[in-house]
């Protein structure tokens, strides 16, 4: 006689069982982290809000691709200052000076240069006057742009400008910057560029580079070193800028790159963990509950109830899954305000139950003949008591395994529906992220970081439950233990 092993021992002794459990723990930990650190309305408040991503470079790969490209890509950099460095007198006028530093270490050009000015308090109706200068590592100082800001007539002082919307100046695109740069390069490097010729090459190359001659052509090479942006402000003594921000666009960003809205993909994909787990768990629990109860009732009660349940489950079981589920989700989501994910959940449940009902019914039919059921009947136990206390416990392990086995299907179905454009654009599920990448033509443009990771995560989630189901199989199906 062999020693009877507990279900847990059998489960944990199998390789797939262990792997599945480890993956599940990983997914649960990631989900807990997200629930603890992300706001609950993350989708609407952050993910779908363009303001939260305005500073980011669009469709750039992760930073670690440096490892493969053989050249260090320029990393994204933001410099912020809230205090003035001091004052400086130019031509008898006293300017407040704000300085923003940037150290270009990589062998490349920042993809753009942008400056943002927040909340400027003005104590005089004459307003303020700004001069933005750019100092390069070679010591040259270029005046990029000048502009004035005046409070609207009859406004209360101090007036706060750029409070609702910050002032954004795209220095690497601004036309007047172009003219400043044109004068600078034509005098310093003896080039005879026209403004059109300058517009052809990006300003950022001129800002952060030096021209070299190669076979009669002018090639711009990046210039490493420390750059300074100096913002001079002329106004009253009390006038000040609350915050200044300079954004040096990177050629790469974060752990998983960005999409075409500049969204940090790592952040969105992390948010997908609890969503995928929730969809997988809830759909499989509800589907299994419905499927199993109907199967037990159908098998135990027999007669007309059995007939009706079997007819319906047979018809629904033979529905072509995807076309019907597309139709259901599509119609439900036409109702305004109805949460899309709930519609997907409902549709998967509505189509998912019959398989289990048919299986459970056949098991109940044979169980019904066993002596302990007859004994329970003989002592006058009610139908409900027999179904709950005698039949269900016998089938519980099998039902549990079926529930696990259904989970990857639910996760994959949700992803497929989201991919077809039936998901909720405000909630970053993995399927939703791939759908957006598909619409933006990510695969055609070679933006692999937007295509591969979400798909791999869907696979990871599905395989987790496949492994757990495989690990449970020998426990539920004792015949397999002999091998």
């Amino acid at each position: 006689m062999s020693v009877t092993r507990s279900g847990w021992q059998i489960y944990i002794s199998s390789l797939v069982g262990k792997a599945g459990l480890i993956l599940l723990i990983f997914m649960v930990v990631a989900s807990i982290y997200v629930l603890a650190t992300y706001p609950l309305d993350y989708g609407i408040r952050v993910w779908s809000n363009p303001k939260s991503w305005a500073d980011n470079p669009i469709t750039v790969p992760p930073t670690w691709v440096d490892f493969f490209t053989g050249r260090d890509l320029v990393t994204h950099h933001i410099t912020i200052t809230t205090t003035s460095k001091g004052t400086e007198t130019i031509a008898g006028l006293k300017f407040k000076v704000y300085e923003l530093d940037y150290d270009l270490e990589e062998d490349g050009f920042p993809t753009y240069l942008m400056i943002k000015i927040y909340n400027v308090s003005m104590y005089s109706e004459r307003g303020v006057y700004f001069v933005i200068n750019f100092t390069r590592p070679d010591g040259d100082e270029i005046r990029l742009i000048t502009f004035a800001e005046v409070p609207p007539p009859n406004s209360d002082l101090p007036y706060i400008a750029f409070s609702k919307n910050e002032k954004i100046i795209f220095l690497s695109k601004e036309r007047s910057v172009g003219f400043s740069l044109l004068t600078y390069i034509n005098t310093k490097y003896n080039l005879n560029y026209t403004i059109d010729k300058l517009n052809e090459i990006n300003y950022n190359k001129v800002l952060f580079g030096v021209p070299t001659e190669e076979g009669g052509d002018v090639i711009w090479k990046p210039l490493k070193g420390v750059y300074k942006i100096n913002v001079y402000m002329l106004g009253e003594d009390k006038d000040k800028i609350a915050m200044l921000k300079a954004v040096f666009g990177g050629e790469s960003y974060g752990f998983l790159g960005t999409d075409d809205n500049g969204r940090d993909l790592a952040q969105g994909l992390l948010f997908g963990f609890p969503v995928a787990l929730a969809i997988g768990f809830f759909t499989s629990i509800v589907t299994t509950a419905i499927g199993a109860s109907l199967g037990i009732i159908s098998g135990y009660k027999g007669g007309r109830v059995d007939e009706i349940i079997q007819r319906i489950s047979d018809v629904v079981y033979n529905f072509p899954f995807l076309p019907i589920i597309i139709l259901i989700v599509f119609i439900i989501s036409r109702m305004p305000g109805f949460p899309r994910l709930l519609a997907i959940f409902g549709a998967i449940v509505a189509l998912g139950w019959p398989g289990l009902t048919i299986l459970i019914r056949s098991m109940v039919l044979s169980l019904k003949q066993s002596q302990f059921i007859e004994a329970a009947k003989a002592i006058g136990a009610s139908d409900r008591r027999i179904m709950f206390k005698h039949i269900f416990p016998n089938l519980a392990p099998f039902i549990f395994a079926q529930m696990i086995f259904f989970t990857p299907g639910a996760i994959l179905a949700e992803a497929a529906l989201s991919f077809l454009g039936l998901g909720d654009p405000n909630i970053p599920t993995w399927g939703q992220i791939i759908e957006e990448s598909f619409r933006a033509g990510a695969a055609l443009n070679g933006w692999w970081w937007w295509v591969l990771p979400p798909g791999l995560l869907i696979m990871l989630a599905a395989i987790t439950f496949v492994f757990i189901a495989l690990g449970l199989e020998p426990i539920v199906n004792p015949k397999l233990q002999e091998r």
């Binding site: 047979d314 019907i324 599509f330 399927g431 695969a443 295509v451 495989l470």
Partner: protein, 353 residues
Amino acid sequence: MIILGVPRYLGVKAFNLMLVLLGVLLLTAILFGATGLSDKILRAIISEEVRGYRAQLSQQKGLTPEEINHLVEEYKKNLEIEYGLDKPWYVRLPDMIRRIVILDLGTSKHMTSFTGSNQIRDIIVERVPYTVMLMTTAVLIVFAIGLGFGTWLSTKVGSLWDRGLSFFASISYATPTWWLALLLILIFSYYLDILPYGGLLSPNPPKEFLPRLLDMMYHAILPIMTLVLALSGSAIYIYRSILVSTATEDFVTVARAKGLPENLVLRRYIIRPSLHPILTNLVLGLAGSLTGAILTETVFNWPGMGRLYYEAILNIDEPLILALTYVFTLIYVAARFILEILYIVVDPRVTVE
């Protein structure tokens, strides 16, 4: 033991499949009725006809604008009664089902057929062959691969290859088909640049038949490869399991004991009796290939019904989605019926009376 004759057997199967079709029709008609979408479709059909009538009237001379308005109003009212818009949706249920069956669902707002018609029926009918072509090719290849590798692996139970297969099958099951399609585009179209991104033909397709066909086949490589990769993992796994369970039967042991050549044992004593469960799995695989075809067509812009689904969803085209669901169910039911006929061929018990 109950032995049914061929007509009786097929009759029962056909009845069951008709029930499925009827179930789908009832479900769709109720969904569209209860949500008011069927009203919307009918109103669209009516307003189309009313517009035609008005155009026709305004060409006739001697009618004042008031008279035209009056006549049009009258005509519209008659149409509404004719189409049953004055009655609640559940009374109109049979009529709605009839409309779906004959695809009389009006016109599409945004899409036209390749020939320029915007009738739902025209748009769908011309796309059917492309989907059927993609699906049947993939199903046949998967069947061949599944049976070939399944047979080979069934002779190597417990080997490294065998264990590798169950791993491959799990991975293949967990891989979203549409994502696999994107992956293949990235590899073969973007990086290797040897296969087209999608579509049916090149931008300037050849006019002659044979080069045109070759061009189409060239474009079909990636979609078919996607479907085959997505479906073959589980197919090999299932066919192998079926063959292994037959191989442990007593009659196989007896055949071997008689000293029959292994080749013959495999062919006549293992594969032949396994064909019945294998066909059953082909039926189940059909549903998978249908799902796969919808998603694959979407990714590769293959002009079949699957791609049409995606476009209809993006354009919120209710009648088109309704019609597509029906036609997909029809194709599914038809394919199931063909397989039922194949059952008769492989299972002699059915033909014996």
